[in-house]
């Protein structure tokens, strides 16, 4: 029971890191980016390829996955995403789903459609018992890393100069520009960090979630649920939504495997009908 809860929390944390970048682009920049999962997949494949082909140790691949995906995100932002900012939401949805289709078929073509395996280092394998709760070492590692990231992210957004610039640029780009803030640069950096986080999440999750070319499509709905249920105005909203989703999913799969994803979707519809702006969204926000 508590073991399940622990697994659910680890799963939720992972979902949070995967989707927080999306919460930023979607909530702050008002861009519906369905291709977010593709960046996560890029991070996952970076880790897999580095480990299996070049023998880079697991821990070293994590920052590399982050960096690579962030650079990829920056390049895409500059070339493809920027013209789409002021377009209707439907155009953005179609545009980004087009990117997903390309990514899925492209990875399938280059690397192959089989599921990729990674082996985490010895000291992260296995599990130990703590007061009757079975704790997987790797899950614990995920929780710690993701928890640290969450705190860091919250600090950056609320305490630093960059955070306040970002919030200003989001609230009113014209005024922000007038105040001498380089809005384009702020958005570029934000998008890059968001993609990088997705890549890091993909790298961390490769062992838990599995990695195959249809990854972006498979988890796209989960990311979207996290963001829409959590509301896009805060970091805590998506965090709680991700935890809720992770726990509900793990419990659902254990106790009622026949129902499958039914619980998750039904829960989402109920919450969104009750609070259309998300659990912690504020009325009148974008």
């Amino acid at each position: 029971m508590l073991t399940l809860l622990f697994d659910g929390i680890a799963y939720g944390m992972l979902l949070f890191v995967l989707s927080v970048g999306l919460a930023v682009t979607m909530g702050l920049m008002n861009f519906i980016n369905l291709a977010h999962g593709a960046f996560a997949m890029a991070g996952g494949y970076t880790t897999v390829l580095l480990m299996n082909k070049l023998g880079v140790p697991f821990l070293a691949t994590l920052p590399l996955a982050f960096l690579f995906t962030a650079l990829l995100g920056a390049a895409f932002e500059r070339t493809l995403y920027r013209p789409m900012y002021n377009r209707p939401h439907l155009d953005q949805v179609l545009f980004s789903i087009g990117l997903v289709f390309m990514a899925v078929a492209g990875v399938d073509y280059i690397i192959g459609s089989q599921q990729q395996m990674i082996s985490v280092p010895e000291w992260l394998q296995g599990r130990f018992d703590l007061a009757d709760v079975g704790i997987g070492k790797y899950r614990l590692f995920i929780i710690i890393v993701c928890g640290l990231l969450t705190v860091a992210l919250q600090m950056i957004l609320s305490r630093t100069r960059f955070g306040s610039r970002l919030r200003a640029a989001v609230d009113d780009p014209r005024v922000a520009r007038g105040l001498g803030i380089n809005v384009n640069q702020v958005f570029l950096l934000t998008f890059a960090v968001g993609s990088g986080l997705a890549g890091l999440g993909g790298a961390l999750g490769a062992e838990v979630l599995g990695l195959e070319p249809i990854f972006p499509l498979k988890f796209m709905v989960y990311f979207l649920i996290v963001v829409s249920v959590g509301g896009t105005t805060t970091i805590t909203g998506p965090l709680l939504a991700a935890l809720l989703l992770g726990i509900a999913d793990v419990f659902g799969k254990y106790y009622a495997p026949k129902l499958g994803a039914f619980i998750v979707y039904a829960l989402m519809i109920a919450i969104l009908t009750w609070r259309p702006q998300g659990l912690f969204g504020q009325r009148g926000s974008k």
């Binding site: 979607m26 519906i32 493809l80 013209p83 789409m84 377009r87 939401h89 439907l90 155009d91 953005q92 949805v93 179609l94 545009f95 789903i97 087009g98 990117l99 997903v100 289709f101 390309m102 990514a103 899925v104 078929a105 492209g106 399938d108 073509y109 499509l217 709905v221 979207l224 649920i225 963001v227 829409s228 896009t232 026949k258 129902l259 499958g260 994803a261 039914f262 979707y265 039904a266 989402m268 519809i269 969104l272 009908t273 259309p276 702006q277 998300g278 974008k286």
Partner: protein
């Protein structure tokens, strides 16, 4: 100018929009001729007609009323299962089955319309997607009723109007689908050129303003969503009846996504957009997947990205692609 004459002018312009254009008549002639000339392509043409009908229903919702939806397959699949189950357990007459499926989907649409009233585009995308996913899971789990992952097989249809039998070549099926499509186009055409249709467009363009001139937004949204659902249900029913098969595939996400693409190719808020879109999409699909069966989604994705980046209006004018500042 008095109020009377301006009202007459409005009525005259409404009537003018309803008048038949020469190419609409030509289109009808081509459609009727295609039934007799279809030969062995009847099955493909049948699929195109069904897809066009499905796209027409999304156009009502998305193009005219501005409700974004990623789960329109919910109604398609529901219509398909209703028609198939009805034929299997109650009676095999296709027209009665179609009517039942349409009625059933309309009820479902009315129920779901409550869910899409509130929130932003994102919320609506998620809720429509969620409804389709929930129905998918239900159809998968209730295997005693729906056959689960194997789908509902062995649906035998009776003769159409008691005389025409559904054959292997699909000629009857195509004529049947085409007739339903024609009826739906006529109904939709009447609706979008009516004052109700204009109020929908007003609501799409500016919901707040529509509300403030005293139109009931919610009532209109319920009406159009129910109608759109019913038409999508008809498309699903046609699919199940002409193929004798209903499967989970009807609910899948990619069906909704493809549909939005069909509509975007053909043009939204344009009555014939769905029809032209369906023709182009099916032909492209057949060509590209014959060329690269495994990776055709890549080309689909590339097409979408380019289409969105340059805009639909400019896609057919490649020489304008690299001009600066052109807002499509």
């Amino acid at each position: 100018m008095s109020a009377g004459t301006s009202l007459e002018k409005v009525q005259a312009s409404l009537r003018a929009a309803l008048g038949w254009r020469w190419w609409e008549i030509a289109l009808a002639v081509v459609a009727i001729a295609s039934v007799f000339l279809s030969g062995r392509h009847a099955l493909l043409l049948n699929e195109i007609a069904i897809l066009a009908l499905f796209a027409l229903s999304l156009d009502l919702i998305l193009g005219y009323a501005g409700i974004v939806s990623l789960g329109h397959a919910a109604f398609f699949g529901f219509g398909a299962y209703t028609a198939a189950l009805f034929a299997k357990h109650v009676m095999p007459d296709p027209l009665v089955g179609l009517a039942v499926a349409v009625a059933g989907t309309a009820v479902l649409g009315a129920l779901c319309s409550v869910l899409i009233m509130r929130g932003s585009d994102l919320t609506r995308l998620m809720i429509t997607l969620g409804v389709a996913a929930v129905l998918y899971e239900l159809a998968n789990k209730l295997d005693w009723l729906t056959g689960g992952a194997d789908g509902l097989q062995g649906v035998v249809m009776g003769k159409l109007l008691g005389t025409f039998e559904f054959d292997l070549f699909g000629k009857t099926a195509y004529a049947y689908s085409l007739a339903v499509l024609a009826v739906c186009v006529l109904i939709t055409r009447r609706i979008v050129h009516s004052p109700f249709g204009y109020s929908l467009k007003a609501l799409r363009d500016n919901r707040l303003r529509t509300q403030s001139i005293g139109l009931s937004v919610h009532l209109r949204l319920v009406a159009v969503y129910t109608l759109g659902a019913a038409v999508a249900g008809a498309a699903g029913a046609l699919m199940a009846q002409t193929s004798g098969f209903a499967s989970l595939d009807g609910f899948e996400f990619h069906r909704s996504a493809d549909l939005v693409l069909v509509l975007v190719i053909g043009g939204t808020a344009y009555l014939y957009g769905g029809i032209f879109g369906a023709i182009i999409f099916k032909l492209l699909h057949d060509l590209v997947s014959a060329w690269t069966p495994q990776y055709w989604t890549f080309w689909l994705g590339l097409f979408l990205v380019v289409l969105m980046l340059v805009g639909r209006e400019r896609l057919i004018r490649p020489w304008t692609w690299f001009k600066r500042g052109g807002q499509a």
